[in-house]
């Protein structure tokens, strides 16, 4: 399990298989506004990167999170 998958699975309390690029607040009720903040800050901690507010709010699904991490020099599959 990649670090990124682990963060989503842990914070949202969903099984690893649930964490696909399509996972989003629309199809996962645990992804509420509180968990959105926690996800952002835990991703930042895990990869030692920092997002702007707009970048963080632009994450609409797990695929977006992968792309964002990659754009900051992190490896979302590691």
């Amino acid at each position: 399990m990649s670090k990124l998958t682990r963060i989503f699975a842990s914070v949202l309390g969903v099984p690893e298989e649930r964490v696909t690029p399509e996972l989003s607040p629309e199809n996962e009720s645990a992804w509420d506004s509180l968990n959105a903040i926690i996800l952002v800050t835990e991703i930042e901690n895990a990869y030692a990167i920092r997002f702007t507010y707009d970048e963080a709010m632009g994450v609409k699904n797990f695929g977006d999170a992968m792309k964002l991490v990659e754009s900051k020099g992190g490896n979302p599959n590691a």
Binding site: V11, I37, T41
Partner: protein
């Protein structure tokens, strides 16, 4: 536990019910910010310690309408944030601090459970620069903290939590997340919030008797650098220079934990003789062998050794924390003894002491008594004594260096002597219970009350013997009470004391001492004492045996038991 694994546990909370966990606790939370992340951490940490949390958070920003109405339950946590980046009522409204303090006072009066209130930490910077006393925010924080201290000194259920110390651990820049503050009114980073949740929960542990009591330590690369079996007692890294200085100071940090009452123990895979050599010969050891309440040095799995240590110290496995640099040993203990708390260890020894301090929330105590402070030492003293006694059953007395201090009619001792008369069952000739006032009255009416302090080179037992002699006539005196705490059995102290008592009575002009031994279900250990000390049996009726001793003959001929005991003891009068 990492913040992430804590959040993972918290995510499972909704699928659990109260009956799934061994304990539950109702927790009130009052803050002036969005505390949902703090709640999540409190939930995850509670679950990880086997507590089902019934969390009652005050609604967002509602605290000032009815602070007292939002507290209560097993414990209440109150955390207010005051920072220079957001305008706060604490600063804008001069009456706010007083209102909040009044609310806390009301809460403290209404609530029986403890109320843990965080202080307002000082700011790293602000518009007033260094003109601190002109800064309204600084003034508000000072007023609040002073008022809180005053409240805590009057109301024992108010506990001050020093938020400043927690903030210092992180620093403003890694403790505060301004993006989260402005976007969501979340003032702290997740790491600080997680640490805050741990510290707060420590008070719940203390309240529920769940605080840890003992640190079990590995030796090689934990208390010193290197492997003593290979490097030798002088070759391990300990003392000046890196990394020896780090290990030395880690030991010093542990020593301070011991001094506040945390027990220490050793579970190490080594040859005992190699370790003994370190204790005896390495001048940089800050911890002595006597500092450890239990020691297991062998090649057996550590889980078994830790189980034995728990038995020896008479504490539960769930009150132990195990520190070992070796991941395999940690995993073995975690797998075999899930009750034992096994934190990861930092990879570098310079982090050990800080790591230890970061985990002291597990040992939280609501207050510290003088007895608590002595506890850690007494276990070690007792263990050291047992080792000496076991190694030389015939000659241990000389090695213990027992000293007996006998006082006569000393008013300051009467409270403790009364307690002794009420608690002592085994070595107690007559089992007469006396209050402090009764002892006082006896002393005034001419009785001789001897209080005896016993110590040896391992430590002080305190007052553990009591003898009372009551005059029956000008020439005759009765030994009304003679008792000794079981903690000092087999030291010969009772013979040294009776000898002194008899000498003193003879010097006072008495000729005869009468004594009784009244049999109870428990006082078998004292039954042979009087004849062995030289008393003659003169009568027996039911459970009472009467004895008599002529002081003139006693002085000329002492029993072998008496002479033997006196040769191994030092008596101070």
């Amino acid at each position: 536990m990492t913040p992430l694994s804590c959040l993972e546990l918290a995510a499972r909370f909704e699928s659990l019910s109260e009956s799934d966990l061994p304990k539950s606790a109702s927790i009130s939370l009052v803050t002036n910010f969005t505390d949902t992340i703090l709640q999540k951490f409190l939930i995850g940490l509670s679950l990880s310690h086997g507590i089902y949390p019934k969390l009652r958070p005050a609604p967002y920003k509602q605290y000032h309408f009815d602070l007292a109405g939002h507290g209560g339950g097993d414990i209440t946590y109150v955390v207010f944030d005051l920072n220079p980046y957001v305008t706060s009522e604490f600063v804008s409204d001069p009456a706010h601090v007083e209102e909040v303090l009044a609310g806390l006072r009301e809460l403290a009066e209404r609530s029986s459970g403890p109320i843990v209130v965080a202080t307002l930490p000082s700011h790293p910077s602000g518009a007033y620069g260094q003109l601190l006393s002109d800064d309204p925010a600084v003034r508000a924080a000072r007023a609040f903290n002073e008022g809180l201290d005053a409240l805590a000194s009057r109301r024992k259920n108010v506990i001050v939590f020093d938020m400043e110390r927690l903030f210092q651990r992180f620093g403003e820049h890694s403790g505060r997340d301004l993006r989260s503050l402005y976007a969501f009114d979340v003032p702290y980073t997740n790491d600080l919030t997680f640490a805050l949740a741990k510290e707060l929960l420590g008070y719940l542990f203390a309240l529920s008797g769940m605080s840890k009591k003992c640190i079990v330590l590995d030796l090689d690369n934990t208390l010193w650098g290197g492997i003593v079996g290979e490097a030798g007692a002088g070759g391990i890294a300990l003392g000046p220079g890196y990394p020896g200085y780090a290990y030395e100071n880690f030991q010093d940090a542990l020593k301070r934990c011991l001094e506040r009452g945390i027990l220490l123990a050793i579970a190490s895979k080594n040859n005992p003789a190699d370790v003994d050599e370190v204790f005896e010969k390495n001048p940089h050891m800050r911890l002595a062998k006597e500092d450890f309440g239990a020691i297991r040095i062998n090649w057996e799995p550590k889980s078994g050794n830790i189980t034995e240590i728990a038995k020896e110290l008479n504490i539960g496995l769930d009150s132990m924390v195990f520190l070992d640099d070796d991941a395999a040993s940690r995993e073995e203990v975690k797998a075999m003894l899930p009750e034992v708390f096994v934190p990861d260890m930092p990879s570098q020894p310079e982090e050990y002491a800080r790591h230890l301090f970061d985990h002291l929330y597990l040992f939280t105590q609501l207050r510290l008594t003088a007895e608590d402070k002595e506890k850690g030492k007494m276990y070690g003293q007792e263990r050291a004594r047992r080792t000496v006694i076991a190694s030389d059953p015939a000659g241990y007395l000389d090695k213990l260096g027992v000293e007996v201090r006998i006082s006569h009619n000393e008013p300051s001792q009467l409270s403790r002597l009364s307690q002794l008369s009420q608690k002592t069952n085994q070595f107690n000739l007559t089992t007469r219970r006396y209050s402090e006032a009764e002892l006082e009255g006896m002393a005034e009416s001419g009785a001789h009350i001897f209080g005896v302090d016993v110590r040896d080179k391992f430590g002080n037992y305190g007052l553990v013997l009591l003898a009372i002699a009551k005059p029956r006539s000008k020439k005759e005196v009765e030994l009304d009470t003679f008792l000794m705490s079981c903690r000092v059995f087999s030291r010969g102290a009772e013979y040294a004391v009776i000898n002194h008592v008899l000498e003193k009575l003879r010097a006072a002009g008495y000729a005869t001492v009468m004594a009784r031994s009244i049999e109870t279900a428990k006082n078998r250990p004292s039954r042979e004492f009087l004849p062995r000390a030289g008393f003659q049996k003169v009568g027996e009726e039911d459970a009472t045996t009467t004895y008599r001793l002529e002081l003139s003959t006693y002085a000329k001929k002492k029993t072998p038991e008496l002479s033997e005991a006196l040769s191994h003891l030092t008596v101070h009068v």
